[in-house]
């Protein structure tokens, strides 16, 4: 099977959907000629024109609000938010308007938009360009949240998102744009709410999101050499969340670590760990562990930045402790 980069996968997905449905358009900063600073959208304005690949001034609340209005009245906008950190600027339009319109109108108005943005640290971009803020939007009823972990998911989830009649926020890991993966040719969609068991195991379950899936896979390799069999699961979408797959794995292995790049406290890991605690309690032989980014603004210095996020070594270390029955009081 051919291999393409995550960047190419996103580009393909969007182009295919724009060909398929004339109401799909892109709006954001530097999306047209520039194809975004990450060059993910290069070539699209040449094919679809400036009417459908719209460059905006640096006015995030403005173009987010415009996208909401366009979506409410018949278009299917893809909003490009250059850095996930800027999500704070658009929270009213995203969470007060887009998320709630279908409900507040008693089901009469839809907001079929996609907000395409990114997350991920270790790029030396410092605190305001390195955050992983998916927990904030996952918390708001009415928003769906997708987290592609490779080029394969990037393509399949993006197409599903564009066809979904609800506001969907997709977070891509900005450090993965050049990472390749096998992606089938032809029409290919990944449904929301279906987790992917990437590696089978029996001793411990490692649940990872976005690039943390790769971290968990590497940890699993380390552990395998020591005789510990780790199962690695990628939920793919946080909202809706495929609980059943996660719970079945927890029941099987009786030990779980949830790994995510959002901050340790009050985040995705807490939610998933809680659900496993509630629904698989009597199968647990160890506390469910959360591993997120440290509760600090991401520092600039490489020496400091690299220790703020989970790594295969730290994941493996915790896995060892859980498997040996060592009591862990907060990672």
């Amino acid at each position: 099977m051919r291999e393409i980069t995550l960047s190419q996968a996103v580009n393909e997905a969007i182009a295919e959907e724009m060909r398929r449905d004339a109401s799909v358009f892109i709006i954001g900063e530097d999306v047209a000629e520039a194809g975004t600073p990450f060059k993910v959208l290069s070539g699209l304005v040449e094919e679809f024109g400036t009417d459908r690949v719209i460059d905006t001034p640096i006015a995030e609340p403005g173009f987010m609000g415009i996208a909401v209005g366009a979506a409410m009245t018949g278009s299917r906008p893809i909003v490009d938010l250059m850095f996930g950190d800027f999500i704070f600027l658009i929270m009213d339009q995203l969470c007060n308007q887009a998320a709630k319109t279908h409900y507040m109108s008693g089901g009469k108005l839809n907001v079929p938009l996609v907000l395409r943005t990114n997350l991920g640290a270790t790029r030396r971009s410092a605190a305001q360009h390195s955050q992983s803020l998916h927990a904030l939007v996952a918390h708001i009823p009415g928003l769906k949240v997708a987290m592609p972990s490779s080029a394969l998911e990037a393509k399949g989830l993006m197409k599903t998102a564009i066809r979904d009649n609800n506001p969907v926020v997709i977070f891509e890991d900005k450090l993965m744009y050049q990472d390749k993966a096998e992606v089938p040719e032809g029409e290919f969609l990944i449904p929301f709410g279906v987790a992917n068991v990437k590696r089978q195991g029996t001793d411990i379950t490692l649940i990872g999101t976005s690039s943390m899936v790769q971290v968990c896979e590497k940890a699993a390799e380390i552990l395998a050499a020591e005789g510990i069999s780790a199962e690695v699961i990628d939920p793919r979408t946080i909202v809706p969340l495929d609980e059943e797959t996660l719970l079945a794995s927890a029941r099987k292995t009786s030990r779980v670590i949830v790994v995510d790049e959002g901050h340790q406290s009050y985040g995705i890991t807490g939610e998933i760990a809680s659900r496993i605690n509630e629904k698989a309690f009597y199968y647990l032989d160890a506390p469910v562990l959360r591993m997120g980014a440290m509760d600090v603004p991401i520092p600039f210095s490489p020496a400091l930045e690299d220790i703020t996020v989970p790594t295969p070594e730290t994941v493996a270390a915790n896995a060892r402790k859980l498997c040996s029955g060592e009591m862990i009081h907060a990672a």
Binding site: G62, I66, Q97, S105
Partner: protein, 312 residues
């Protein structure tokens, strides 16, 4: 147009009573006094043209063709409301008549209105969008972001600023520096000020601007000078500390839009005083009946609480 203005006034009187007699959950914001603005503008629009509304949205809703029964039901949270009781006064929307909804966030619907205009342009439709907002909302940054883009992309939108002299409990001159129309002109948007209590003037102006919008000459900005008779919301009863009773009295007696238009109609011989009185009585009865209907109507079933979070 007279009928519509009286309908709005009647609706608001009833809504106010519902609040005062503790029959209405939550709060609402009265449009009484501003009828000529909503009616003058909406009468110049087609059903397929869009409007976005504000927290003070009953007037826009009625003016754009909404039904009394469904509106009262929505205010009381009943199932037959426009939003199945899930939006309430501040989020009332009548999608079939092009009303994209009232908004509880000040300035919250400016983006939506501009987006609707963008969509019209992209999908080759000639419908126009009118964005209602108050003088207070000119303090919101979103207004300038969207006017900028509307001007850049020549969108078919009319920004209608209902300047009633007050931003909640503070006089407009204390919250808006400089000129309101100059703000739009800074973006190269043609801006006009009009007497918001003169329904004919409002309607005439709107018709012209709508025509030009359909031809791609938009956007436009209109500042309508008007006055709200009630407080900011229905519970804002003791308001002498920010607004004198004399001032209120002046607007009510000498500048009431309904009286003014009624006088004009009778003077021009287009209707008799008796006709107008009969129409008012009929509307009052209609409204009263709608209130009774809504009070007796049923609430949505509790199973609806988690419906419509997501669309299928």
């Amino acid at each position: 147009m007279y009928r519509q203005m009286v309908r709005i006034r009647s609706f608001e009187d009833n809504a106010n009573q519902l609040y005062l007699s503790a029959k209405m959950p939550g709060l609402t914001h009265m449009y009484s006094g501003e009828e000529a603005v909503a009616v003058g503008i909406c009468e110049a629009l087609r059903k397929t043209d869009k409007i976005t509304s504000t927290h003070r949205g009953h007037g826009h809703c009625v003016a754009k063709g909404a039904d009394f029964k469904n509106m009262f039901c929505e205010l009381l949270g009943k199932e037959e409301g426009y939003c199945r009781g899930k939006g309430g006064s501040m989020h009332i929307a009548d999608q079939s008549n092009g009303n994209l909804g009232a908004n509880a966030i000040v300035g919250g619907s400016m983006g939506i209105a501009t987006g609707s205009a963008l969509r019209a342009k992209l999908l080759g439709s000639d419908d126009v969008t009118v964005c209602f907002f108050g003088d207070g909302a000119t303090a919101q940054g979103l207004l300038y972001e969207v006017m900028n883009m509307a001007a850049l992309w020549k969108l078919p939108i009319i920004y209608a600023c209902e300047n009633n002299g007050y931003s909640e409990y503070t006089k407009t001159e204390e919250i808006a520096a400089g000129s309101i129309t100059a703000r739009a002109e800074a973006f190269g948007i043609e801006a006009v000020t009009v007497d918001g209590q003169d329904v004919l003037a409002v309607n005439d102006l709107t018709q012209k601007l709508v025509e030009r919008c359909r031809k791609g000459e938009g956007p436009f900005f209109v500042e309508l000078m008007t006055y709200r008779y009630h407080g900011h919301h229905v519970g804002d009863i003791n308001r002498e500390y920010y607004r004198s009773k004399d001032e209120e009295k002046l607007w009510k007696t000498e500048r009431d839009p309904i009286t003014r238009f009624g006088d004009w109609l009778t003077t021009e011989g287009l209707a008799s005083a008796e006709d107008l009185a009969a129409m008012s009585a009929e509307i009052k009865a209609d409204a009263a009946a709608a209130v009774e209907y809504a009070l007796a109507a049923k609430y949505p079933d509790i199973s609806e609480v988690d419906m419509h979070v997501f669309a299928a």
